[in-house]
């Protein structure tokens, strides 16, 4: 009887653990095996990958997109969270509206963006009507890679800022009101309150928001694939391309491994910063 009782939690957890091993762990190992087998030795795929200019372009673009959107989203999200946290009348409606993009896929966000910036899209129509332009401005196509890039950045900022916003707002709401009241007693200005109290206390939320956003940004796929195709190369897009268009699961897996390793490095980087900050600050 006691044996049964002891084994019970493990028995209940067993299906979950087995499932995750079978459908995450095992495929993960297979990805490694695929990536590290080729006709030209263990590192053949990676050798091939580095020899092509495409890989470096994809790496550069992915890093560039991540590097631009993540800080932008953080600043916007903090501003939005501070605004909503003023708890004015009707703030819950604003909260819902901000959270709408959370429910949208990258596919629909990309199509929304295309709708605005297409040659016959709303932006062109309005600008033509106003007489600002005399022929439509093109944003998409191989010749307009620069513009495509910025449309992608804009779309991602629109789509994923709410994700950061929700985390920051949750952090804001958990700040003890007494600290701010004490600051009022000492005559702090709003700016001082933000700099000296709110932002330092928000640090854990900011760090986890940054970590999550950086990880997701590094896997960016749908928006780029729909809006620019392979005009703008990105890592996940190349993994997809090598699999679906070239039929080479080995190269595709090599790309997947690159994405996973960089993700791991990013997580490790953030977590170690978080740790050292915690140590500096003593108990908290």
């Amino acid at each position: 009887m006691t044996y049964r009782k002891d084994a019970f939690p493990y028995l209940i957890l067993l299906p979950t653990i087995v499932y995750l091993i079978a459908f995450l762990g095992y495929p993960l190992i297979q990805t490694f095996i695929l990536a590290f087998t080729s006709e030209s030795g263990t590192f053949g795929n990676f050798q091939r990958l580095m020899d092509t200019g495409d890989f470096w372009k994809a790496l550069k673009n992915t890093i560039l997109i991540t590097g631009i959107i993540v800080p932008l989203q953080l600043v916007l999200a903090i501003a939005l969270a501070l605004f909503v946290n003023m708890r004015f009348k009707g703030y819950s409606l604003i909260l819902y509206i901000i959270s709408i993009p959370l429910a949208l896929s990258d596919v629909s966000a990309a199509l929304m963006s295309y709708n605005i910036f297409a040659p016959t899209g709303y932006l062109n129509k309005i600008l033509l009507k106003l007489g600002v332009l005399d022929r439509p401005l093109y944003f998409f196509g191989y010749m307009f890679q620069n513009r495509e890039f910025w449309i992608i950045v804009l779309t991602e900022v629109w789509r994923a800022t709410p994700l950061v916003f929700v985390i920051i707002l949750a952090g804001l709401q958990s700040i003890n009101k007494e600290y701010l009241e004490a600051a009022d007693v000492f005559g702090f200005s709003n700016w001082q309150k933000l700099r000296k109290i709110i932002l330092p206390l928000l640090k854990p939320s900011i760090m986890s928001a940054l970590l999550i956003r950086t990880l997701f940004a590094f896997q960016i796929f749908g928006v780029v694939w729909l809006l620019a195709g392979r005009d703008i190369l990105i890592l996940a897009g190349e993994a997809y391309y090598w699999h679906n268009n070239v039929n080479d699961p080995h190269m595709s897996s090599a790309y997947a491994i690159v994405i996973a390793s960089v993700s791991l490095a990013i997580s490790w980087f953030y977590i170690s910063i978080l740790r050292s900050k915690e140590l500096e600050g003593g108990q908290k």
Binding site: Q30, F83, I98, F218
Partner: protein, 265 residues
């Protein structure tokens, strides 16, 4: 006074920024094609359901939609069937290795799921289930299940054990106490997490497009056909994708903060 003006001004800015793309794609999907391709016409003269109808009925969009619903349904069912008891055990029992198990489940969340897609095809080929909706559901379960375990852990730990214990004193079994007391209390939160799980599966595009060719889910179908079809079909597709997700999130807005907090941590 100044504060009030500021709030109204920023609110309008926020509403315009976040709603314009959504409103415009719905409008575009209802615009007759001659008005859409007429550079001088910003607002359509009349609205039409033509594009939505054609995409949905004539071009078999309903099949892809149905596929998406089936995949999401199976993934949610599978995730809750295994994840809910796991979450229960993780909150109500103390046993060696508990934290390690919880931490490893948490770790799977920071894992780029696209990495498992390619080997899964070969596994599915061996199992004889390649290019089926069930196989996509299995893949989606691998990232929805950890979410369900973590979310039920947090929901159940918010419900006092004492209710359950009181029930057991009055003669309910542990299972009976869970079914009759804890589950009804947890139900709203669980329903909200099911909706979040639905949105995760409904929106997932990379794995679905790699795993299927014939039986494509809606986002996979759009990803592979949208850019070669006329513009108004793109917008109809975007609208069909967006509406259910937006409606669902409206009903769960109360849980928004806690849900994303957990799903992302």
């Amino acid at each position: 006074m100044i504060k009030k003006v500021f709030i109204v001004f920023v609110s309008i800015l926020v509403i315009v920024w976040f709603l314009t793309p959504v409103v415009l794609i719905v409008l575009a999907s209802l615009t007759p094609s001659e008005d859409y391709y007429n550079q001088n016409r910003i607002l359509p003269r009349k609205l039409t359901l033509d594009h939505l109808y054609k995409l949905f009925v004539v071009l078999n969009g309903w099949r892809a939609t149905l596929n998406s619903l089936q995949v999401a349904g199976m993934a949610i069912g599978l995730s809750f069937l295994t994840g809910l008891p796991a979450g229960y055990v993780l909150t109500r029992y103390v046993f060696p290795g508990k934290n390690a198990i919880r931490l490893s489940i948490l770790l799977t969340r920071s894992f780029p799921t696209l990495i498992i897609a390619v080997p899964l095809i070969m596994i599915y080929l061996k199992l004889g289930i390649s290019d089926t909706l069930f196989s996509v559901a299995l893949a989606h379960t691998s990232f929805i299940l950890p979410f369900v375990v973590l979310i039920t852990t947090s929901i159940l730990s918010g419900i006092s054990v004492e209710y359950e214990e009181a029930g057991m004193i009055f003669g309910l079994s542990r299972f009976g106490a869970f079914m009759r007391i804890t589950l009804p209390l947890a139900l709203p939160g669980l329903a909200a997490s099911a909706i979040f799980a639905f949105i995760m599966s409904w929106n997932e595009v990379f794995i679905s497009s790699i795993l299927t060719f014939v039986n494509r889910t809606l986002p996979a179908q759009i990803l592979n056909t949208a850019m070669t079809s006329p513009d108004y079909f793109k917008f109809a597709a975007g609208t069909i994708m967006a509406i259910p997700a937006m409606t669902f999130i409206f009903f769960t807005r109360k849980y928004l903060m806690s849900m994303w907090g957990i799903s992302l941590k």
